[in-house]
Symmetry: C2
Subunit: 320 residues, 2 copies
Amino acid sequence: MTTVKDLGEQGLLKIFRQYCSNVVGDDAAPMGATLPEHQMVVTTDMLVDGVHFSDRTTSSEDVGWRAAAVNLSDLAAMGAKPWGLVMSVGLTPDTEINWIEGVYRGFSECLRTYGTELVGGDTVRSPMRTLAVTAFGQVPKDNLIQRHTARVGDVIVMTGLHGLSKAGLELLLDQNLEKNKELVQTICRYHQRPKPRFDAIAILHEILNHEHYLQGFPISGMDSSDGLADAIAQICRASHVGAKIYWRSLPIPKIIRNLAGEQALDWVLYGGEDFELVLCMPLPLAKKLVHQLPHAAIIGEIVEGNQIDGIKMQSAFQHF
Amino acid sequence: MTTVKDLGEQGLLKIFRQYCSNVVGDDAAPMGATLPEHQMVVTTDMLVDGVHFSDRTTSSEDVGWRAAAVNLSDLAAMGAKPWGLVMSVGLTPDTEINWIEGVYRGFSECLRTYGTELVGGDTVRSPMRTLAVTAFGQVPKDNLIQRHTARVGDVIVMTGLHGLSKAGLELLLDQNLEKNKELVQTICRYHQRPKPRFDAIAILHEILNHEHYLQGFPISGMDSSDGLADAIAQICRASHVGAKIYWRSLPIPKIIRNLAGEQALDWVLYGGEDFELVLCMPLPLAKKLVHQLPHAAIIGEIVEGNQIDGIKMQSAFQHF
């Protein structure tokens, strides 16, 4: 197996350039034009071997896909379209070239899927494999989605099912849990290949462009990367409001009932890493949006106060 | 000493927010407006403890300053003004809070000095302290500086002295080399606090705005982070040209002659990390630029072919 050390920096650079749209190799990369009446948003994430990914559950292609998807999801959560990404990679000298090529391949596949590209990067030696991704997006000035603008009376929409990424992870760790191999594969993909919900943002913008009477209400929200309950709690905290959950409307997929038993609701609320969007908006707009998105649902409403009935906020995502 | 583990993620986030202009804490950070007729450029770098910095030669404030400066220098090298930065930080649980506060302090001090700000970031657990910085800038569309546009007949300008960062590093490693303590301090600062040359870019743009007959010639160039010789070689390779060096015009500072003896020229050519700009442009423009920049010099010209007389390109910057 060829390693990073065998290939050297110039060889690595050659591989990187196969996946990078900026072939000139200047100190910085020029980006395409800004859209009129749009605002730029930017997000960044660092992923460390053994902390955020592991060879045990994740192929190199999936590591690359996820590194792109988690950042793209942050853009979608602001209502933005992707504009470009950069990725810095720290590699141990004994990293196999196959591994880093797989990462670039999965990363690029995700970018292609969502119509954007890798414009620059850096490759350095490190005692631990590390990926640092920064993503830029553009959002129409009036449609910026933020956490702190939820208002009493808004309903809470989730763009898709929750708990499936957790189910996928459990199946990856113990495939004996489920006998239907095809189903196992399908569910594992929810964990391995999260999908940033740019489709939901596009539909939202389309509705707003056609239904003028729905414009002018700020839409609040974020993605559910740290769990559905966490997203609702974060929005409430930032907006100084409470929430009432429509427990009977909260979908619990059958596969999760089967795998998790009594813990099914916990998986849905606290499983995390589903990368759906949790959005607060007036009911008429929510109805139109949910109508056009399979698996989307209105799951609650924003109320006065600072309580969220039935949700316990553990410190599940204390990362240190 | 309080460590990262003692403080936890929420505590770390509080410290981060003291230095970040985006206090809302959304998934992504909104950026200020784009300038008309400007183009965005972006650059990214990863810095790893033990590879790119070390407690032995670098205080935490200087680590932060350098992390900002190396990225800002890449923007200056494209002719751009800074627009904003994001920084992801990987921290070992036993990292002292003092250290990461020092990094943010030095980072912010550099940003303030050059009129820009930290707009977002990420903080994660890592087995090795790691900083990943991405910087955005904007450049007037006609003034983008790239490596591949040097033309035969251009002269080569360096915006300041070379070899001083190498001298500073040697003095940090062995202060007995020089008895004048004040001089030692001054020289060490060249290594610890490199200065991105936005001042040179501003002067260049001013000249171009006033002297219309000098406009319309592409200016080629890059920064000298990997050494003066490397910068000249990279520009020549990208532009498919050679270079003739004016050896008698190449400044060798007296302190370098004293410290390096026979190796003085090697320090100037191959020392690296001076973060000056190496620019190729028509002679009349070069004369005006050099006139306004202390220590700037015209040190050669671009010629046909692919040779650079007197420069040996070692693989000094093979980082793996």
